[in-house]
Structures are given as structure tokens and as C-alpha cells.
Symmetry: C2
Subunit: 113 residues, 2 copies
């Protein structure tokens, strides 16, 4: 087994308010990370699954952006209310949450097959 | 192809100076990330390989810590002078740099086989 079975990276990059790309931080990503962290702890998954803060993941326009490794599934527009579904489906059953996956072939090309 | 062929996460977490675990930031991780970023750009690899800032990767005692996905190889004690070798060997030839891998079975158990 690897150190983490799943490693969840949540973009917490913050840009100035006038930046045309926007930023994940302003879309609530810090709260999303806290929600992941809290729920993973409650479920006793802390040692196998880590919710990690990340700098800019270069997917600002899709934020709040989350990428889960090792499978590199990209989620966009993630809100606190989505955390439970991602954990129950993707983390626990290895079934990525289709409706939240970034709908762009540069991100989830293979995953959508 | 996935969005990134290799995704390099460099821990830039900063702790107070008296914290017994130490922190990657104080071991120069921000400069290591800059070195990765600069060199990847010079080599024209920016669109396939990303050097990303990360929050605490929970490997403080091994810092500066770098983890590379999708293979989840953990490197410890990474310095600016190691960046070229990691890029030339691991990133370009898929040959992890053994001498820099964290020598602890919780991190690189499979990788050392």
C-alpha cells in the first residue's frame, strides 16, 4: 500500500478580485477542504486518505477545483454539499462522481469513457 | 492522456520555529518549487508536467518533501541541487531517484521493490 490510498488536492489559490480567471479560494475552496478533512476524520479514514491544500492547479475557470490521485480525476465547481457524495462514491467505492467531473477533454478525457 | 502526465507537489507548509516536527518551508521548499517551475518551462514541459505548491503533506520530519503523482513517489530532503536529477531521471525517463526517496516503508513501500 502507498502512503495514501487517495490523495485529494483542493486548490486554495487566491487571486485579486479583478482577475478575469477568478480563483478557487473565492469560490469557497478552503471551506471545502475543511469539510473533507472533518468528514474523513469522522469516518476513520485519516490515515489512508488525505485532503490537502494545493496552490493554483491551473483550472481557475472551473473552480473550486479538486483533483484526486492516483487516478487524477478532476472535479469542478465543488461545494461543501458535494463532499459527502465524493467521499461515499469516489473515495469509498472508487466510483467517480460524474456530475461534478470537469467536462473538458483536457481534464477528464480518459475518465469519461 | 490526462491533464498532467506528472504532477509534482512540493510541501510549502510553514510552522512556528519551535515546532518539534520542523517544516518544509524552512528547509527551502519554496525555492525548490521555483527551481522545478523554471526548469520545466525551459524544457518546454509546462503543459504536461506541473510543479505545484502544497499544504502540509504530513511528512514534515523528512522535508523538504516532494510527492510525484500518479505513481506517488515520495522524496525527502529535496534541495535545489536535486531538481535537475529528478527531472532528468524521474520526469523524463520514469526512473525515480532512489537516493532521494524517503526511506520509510509507509512512504515508498512498493517503490523500493
Amino acid at each position: 500500500m502507498k502512503r495514501f490510498e487517495k490523495h485529494i488536492f483542493i486548490c486554495e489559490n487566491k487571486r485579486p478580485p479583478d482577475n478575469p480567471r477568478g480563483c478557487c479560494f473565492d469560490k469557497g475552496s478552503a471551506e471545502v477542504r475543511e469539510a473533507f478533512k472533518k468528514r474523513l476524520a469522522e469516518l476513520g479514514l485519516k490515515s489512508e486518505v488525505r485532503a490537502n491544500s494545493a496552490g493554483c492547479l491551473d483550472a481557475c475557470e472551473f473552480g473550486a477545483t479538486v483533483v484526486i490521485y492516483p487516478e487524477q480525476i478532476w472535479y469542478g465547481g465543488v461545494k461543501i454539499g458535494d463532499v459527502e457524495e465524493i467521499i461515499q462514491s469516489h473515495i469509498l467505492k472508487n466510483l467517480p462522481v460524474q456530475r461534478l467531473m470537469i467536462n473538458h477533454p483536457s481534464y477528464n478525457k480518459d475518465a469519461k469513457a
